[in-house]
């Protein structure tokens, strides 16, 4: 007799579950090992880190103390560099949002002449491989006299983030009913009022997704930062991390500790805004 509320035991379900676990466990290991290894270094004294143990004999937070107290010459400018990363990511997020929202509104809602063409130009940029654009961009920033200035990295990242941002925001704007704009015009609203009072509030979820995308892109960027900035006081954290490798006896445990600290904010931001990101970004990336 079957008891109510107790599901029937079935070998078939067990077999299915086992097959899924057979996929799930390798996926978990594959995903986590490099990240776990980074964390392991961060909590290991130097001897343990280099011994290849899977868990240190004496886990310690000493490495974090060294980083936060800047007790190593590679870490002299840790706070300045961390702050540079914050400022640049925030500026890229804000500037991308302003530029892309304005462009998407103009193309999608105002039907500005030539808007279609601008969208295609933006898509074209989106499809230039990032490392390919970096070569002429480096020289251009030199010509503009912006090398070693935070603006060079900010403007470069805005250039890279905007096309996708415009594309996603334009897709989202097209879904808003035209009647809203028409009703607002009837009520005597000016274009700017429509933008501020009707358009922006309705676009909020997409704006959060795009803002997060631009901030993460700028925070995580290595190549452009490494090309455009070189002064110890001006560089961002990833460039500083790259510079750790310059020494023959690189302090790997400190490198991994700093890297772990640097990787935490994007992971936190991603999880905080995951709901918006997945919907907003994948909808724009793939129009099937």
């Amino acid at each position: 007799m079957k008891l109510p509320g107790v599901s029937e035991f079935s070998w078939r379900d067990v077999a299915t579950e086992a097959r899924l676990l057979l996929i799930g466990i390798p996926v978990l290991l594959w995903t986590m090992i490099p990240i776990y290894h980074m964390f392991l270094f961060a909590i290991s004294p130097k001897e343990d880190a280099f011994s290849g143990k899977l868990w240190p004999d004496h886990p310690t937070l000493h490495n974090f103390e060294i980083v936060f107290k800047q007790q190593h010459y590679f870490l002299r400018d840790f706070y300045v560099q961390f702050w540079n990363s914050v400022v640049i990511a925030a500026a890229v997020g804000a500037l991308t949002l302003v530029i892309a929202t304005a462009a998407a509104f103009a193309i999608s809602r105002l039907k500005v002449p030539g808007g279609r063409m601008v969208l295609n130009l933006a898509l074209f940029t989106y499809f230039i491989p990032a490392a390919f654009l970096a070569v002429p961009m480096y020289r251009t920033m030199g010509n503009y006299g912006l090398l070693n200035n935070h603006w060079s990295l900010i403007l470069a990242m805005v250039t890279i983030a905007s096309p996708y941002a415009i594309w996603v925001l334009k897709q989202a704007s097209d879904k808003l009913p035209v009647e809203l704009d028409e009703a607002a015009v009837m009520d005597g609203a000016t274009t700017l009022q429509i933008f501020r009072l009707v358009y922006l509030p309705l676009m909020m979820p997409s704006l959060v997704a795009i803002g997060t995308y631009a901030v993460l892109l700028a925070w995580n960027e290595y190549l452009y930062a490494f090309l455009l900035l070189s002064n110890d006081q001006e560089i961002t954290l990833p460039v500083a991390l790259g510079n750790f490798l310059a020494a023959d006896d690189s302090p790997w445990e400190l490198l991994m500790t700093t890297g772990f600290i640097y990787a935490l904010p994007p992971a936190a931001v991603y999880y905080a805004f995951r709901r918006y990101m997945v919907g907003g970004l994948t909808a724009g990336a793939v129009k099937s």
Binding site: V98, N220, G259
Partner: protein, 290 residues
Amino acid sequence: MAITLSGDQSIPAPPLSSRLTPAQVWGIVLLAPYLLVFLAFVVYPVCYGLWLARAPSNYVALYNDPIFARAAVNTLIFLVIGINIKMLIALFLSGFFAQQRTWIRWLSVIFILPWAVPSIPTILSVRFMLNPEWGMINHLIFSLTGDDGPNWLNDPTVALSMAIAVHIWKSLPFWTLILITGRLAISHDLFEAAEVDGASWWQKFRFITWPSMQTLYITCTLLSMIWTLGDFNSVYLLTGGGPADLTHVLSTLGIRYLRLDQLSLAMASIVCAMPFVLPLVYFMMKRLSR
């Protein structure tokens, strides 16, 4: 400009301001910031770069540089092998993650991490794991077999394979996510009907899943090709192009020439990839702007 009527009569066009509605004037104003960015940081650099790479001597120099030939071959291997492995795994895993299980939902939350966290600390972490003397992997091999493991990054073939693995590690979550979206869009009724008819999982995949996802899969593969060409981090942070400059791909090679102050060679090496990139870009733009 004048509007031509039938015959040779023509009337002058009204001035621009009266042909545009106030909304359109605002449109132009709002579009201007992006256009400025585009002109200053895309059009000007690209034109300037092409101008720098114009001399045929650059291409002769590239042709005679064995590192360039090697980088071109490596790029091709990276694209053909790396992307196909990555996209096939993504297609497979999209089916796995589409299963309704609590633990699979939790795993999908963790699975996204490589894409969300920055490249530099994670790729350097892999680099240390592969260190022949101190790395975790060779320690494991030694404790399991008693033999020394391979010197992972010292053999160009192995090192390039590891760079491809790192690339897959980093970008697999994104493509899996996109393919899950595609899979979830397929009507569930189709699968139920197939199950009633007693279809095997392969038949379900072959006759329902694949036909519905084919276009998406191909688009993703092409887009992934373009982005992989621009992936500098996987190779540079893992091998630095070494050993002996044998693992360069076009993106790291361009930057290498740039660091050696040979900007026209850097541009020329990128121009060499254009006959390959431009048809891809053209196809993607057509596909997306339909």
